[in-house]
Amino acid sequence: MRVALFIPCYVDQFYPNVAIATLELLEKHGCTVTYPLKQTCCGQPMANSGYEHEAEGCSMLFAENFAGYDYIVCPSGSCTLHIKHHLHTEKNAPEEAHIRKTVYELCEFMVDVLKVDTINASFPHKVGMHQSCHGQRGLHLSQMSELNAEPYSKPGSLLAMVKDVELIQLDRIDECCGFGGTFCVAEEAVSGKMGKDRVADHVRHEAEYITGADMSCLMHMEGILKRQNSNTKVIHIAEILNGIDN
């Protein structure tokens, strides 16, 4: 199985360990992984700001970089969703259609495609799970609290295979953290308040770590935790699943 690794630009720049964990995790589970070196960014920050038209170049580059693989896997629900919904340029229609169909967020790839049933890792900590909205409500990684439907969680089912993890309960299981791309600066007051409230829910329930499938939300919450000199840390789910214990 030839898998292309799609690493969001801010993960490449700020959180290389998350990318390394993703790569190692996929290799452990039998994938042949390539990281196309010419990748930059999926164009989401521009598109969500209303500048889809300025992201054309990004989209074209993306299609060039990621054509010809069986699957494309990304440790971010939000970037995956963007490609799935918005990778449409005039130029490479068949490749783009293939890409849109075969791009997966890491957790859904492990559950739906690799059908992973054991994970060799241990993480003896109290962990709070953050449901990033684009992964959850966009890609349906977990059931959504608004709907009258059976609960499930793909990231949750993976975490359940990790030894010694203690998942904490939250008061609001899937409230947005307020990152929202450019929202986090354009609407700083509300974004900061949402982040503080989200973090407080985890801290109140004694989380040692907040984990999730989207580093952007975690970066936002980490920024708030650090400002508060909190002992609670953030960790991407790939790092837990790959068996790194910080």
Binding site: E52, L61, E187
Partner: protein, 457 residues
């Protein structure tokens, strides 16, 4: 409040100056969201009901003119006088002319978001007609000379102590009294006299049934009935999208409406009005005010399915932390943010950005409007129209350019991660709003790309 601020982000800054109050506002609305969850989860066929409602409304939007004509025919046959208003001004004139004809200068009005949208109260007052809002929440904001901040709970931003203060001033209740029962009783007393002496009553319309020419008004206080039954003239104003085809469809909508709005199984009063009582005149004003143009916009038309339950507001994490007035329109929250640019793109260009696109609104919406997708689409329309700030236009262009050139990206990445200079959420500059409440991650020794080349290259 700060209704003079017409930019959501600025109004939100003001609102957030008092953090405990934001917490209170957030919790009050979240409580309603939780009640909605309980009520909707108690009905196994809930999601099916939403689907029915959505399809019925889709059918209505596709056949609107036909249903409107059917409704008009049946309403006239029932003895109701039907008026058509192309816009807010015409709507206001029609209401005024009815009152003038009967030499009426005082009127009671139950809740109607449409009349808020049309600015009816101000218009009538300007023409010497006194309007008293009889919905308790509406009356409170009316006494406070404020617009409502929520379409179902107009004064949800007021604490009971503050209402006590307001009533003390206007209705002479005891100073310092804040017991809701006491205050409600005082308001009742005050309104009773009003009801008995007004010859005209205006109500909104929740559903108008094409098949029968009847219309339904849902309230919890019974104030619409009280007004309409006691008055000689009943004027009902509705947007043209309020039509439903058949009476049996009420079974779907009435089950959804109150559960979505407040978590009640049904509103206390669902009043059906069909034929005028003897010696009474009933008027219906059908208002377009931009709706038919809106209907022609493929990407945005289905927001006309809205039944004004406000579930999308209660669930919206931004609304809960910025308050209804920050949306500077009669209809606030996520639905307001996709409706109002249809009326005036320039004046409301900030609203589609007052969202994280989390999508919770679309999930609670009883008629399945794709609210968050429309927010995204409005952003594209607005920026393509050139309504973005020049600096943002330039930085997005630059960012698009750098990110489409791997060589530039790699150089800039190495050189102090320059690429991120163009990414608005990570500008490494202490003046960046990011730093107000957050720290940035410390840049690592090497990027993943550099690591990969060394270790797997």
């Amino acid at each position: 409040m700060n209704s003079t601020i017409t930019n959501h982000a600025d109004a939100a800054i003001q609102f957030n100056l008092d953090e405990p109050r934001v917490d209170w506002h957030d919790k009050t609305l979240w409580f309603i969201r939780e009640k909605r969850d309980l009520a909707s989860h108690a009905i196994p066929e809930w999601e099916q009901l939403r689907e029915y409602a959505s399809q019925i409304k889709n059918n209505v939007l596709s056949n609107l003119s036909q249903y409107l004509q059917e409704f008009e025919k049946n309403a006239i046959a029932n003895g109701v006088i039907v008026h058509w208003a192309a816009d807010a001004a015409e709507h206001n004139q029609i209401v005024h002319s009815i009152l003038k004809k009967h030499q009426i200068d005082r009127m009671v009005k139950s809740k109607s978001m449409l009349t808020e949208e049309c600015g009816l109260n101000e218009y009538l007052e300007h023409n010497g007609i006194e309007v008293i809002d009889t919905d308790l929440g509406e009356r409170i904001v009316q006494l406070a000379k404020e617009p409502p901040s929520h379409i179902v709970l107009p004064c949800i931003h007021w604490k009971k102590e503050e209402i006590g203060e307001l009533f003390h001033k206007h209705l002479g209740t005891d100073k310092g009294a804040s017991d809701p029962k006491y205050l409600t009783a005082a308001a009742r007393e005050h309104l009773r006299e009003t009801f008995l002496t007004r010859r005209a009553a205006l109500t909104g319309v929740n559903f108008a049934v094409a098949e029968t020419g009847e219309f339904v008004v849902s309230t919890n206080e019974g104030n619409a009935d009280m007004g309409a039954h006691l008055a000689d003239i009943h004027i009902a104003c509705m947007g043209i999208e309020k039509i439903i085809p058949q009476q049996q469809h009420l079974g779907v909508f009435l089950r959804l409406l109150a559960r979505s709005a407040t978590g009640q199984p049904i509103t206390t009063y669902s009043s059906h009005f069909k034929k005028p009582q003897p010696h009474q005149e009933v008027h219906i004003v059908l208002v377009d005010n931009g709706r038919s143009v809106h209907l022609g916009k493929e990407d945005f038309r289905n927001s006309l399915k809205c039944i004004r339950c406000a579930a999308c507001m209660n669930t919206c994490p931004v609304y809960r932390r910025s308050g209804g007035h920050s949306y500077h329109n009669a209809v606030a929250g996520p639905i307001g943010s996709i409706l109002t640019p249809n009326f005036d793109m320039r004046a409301n260009k900030d609203l589609p950005f007052a969202s994280t696109l989390c999508g919770s609104c679309s999930n609670v919406c009883p008629v399945k409007i794709d609210i968050h997708d429309q927010l995204y689409k409005w952003r594209q329309v607005l920026m393509k129209e050139g309504l973005g700030p020049t600096t943002k236009n330039a930085s997005m262009k630059m960012m698009g350019w750098v990110l489409s050139k791997p060589s530039l990206y790699n150089i800039s990445g190495k050189a102090a991660r320059l690429v991120l200079k163009y990414s608005p959420f990570v500008v490494s500059n202490k003046l960046n709003p990011w730093y107000k409440q957050r720290e940035m991650p410390a840049p690592p020794k090497e990027s993943f790309k550099e690591w990969y080349k060394k270790n797997r290259g």
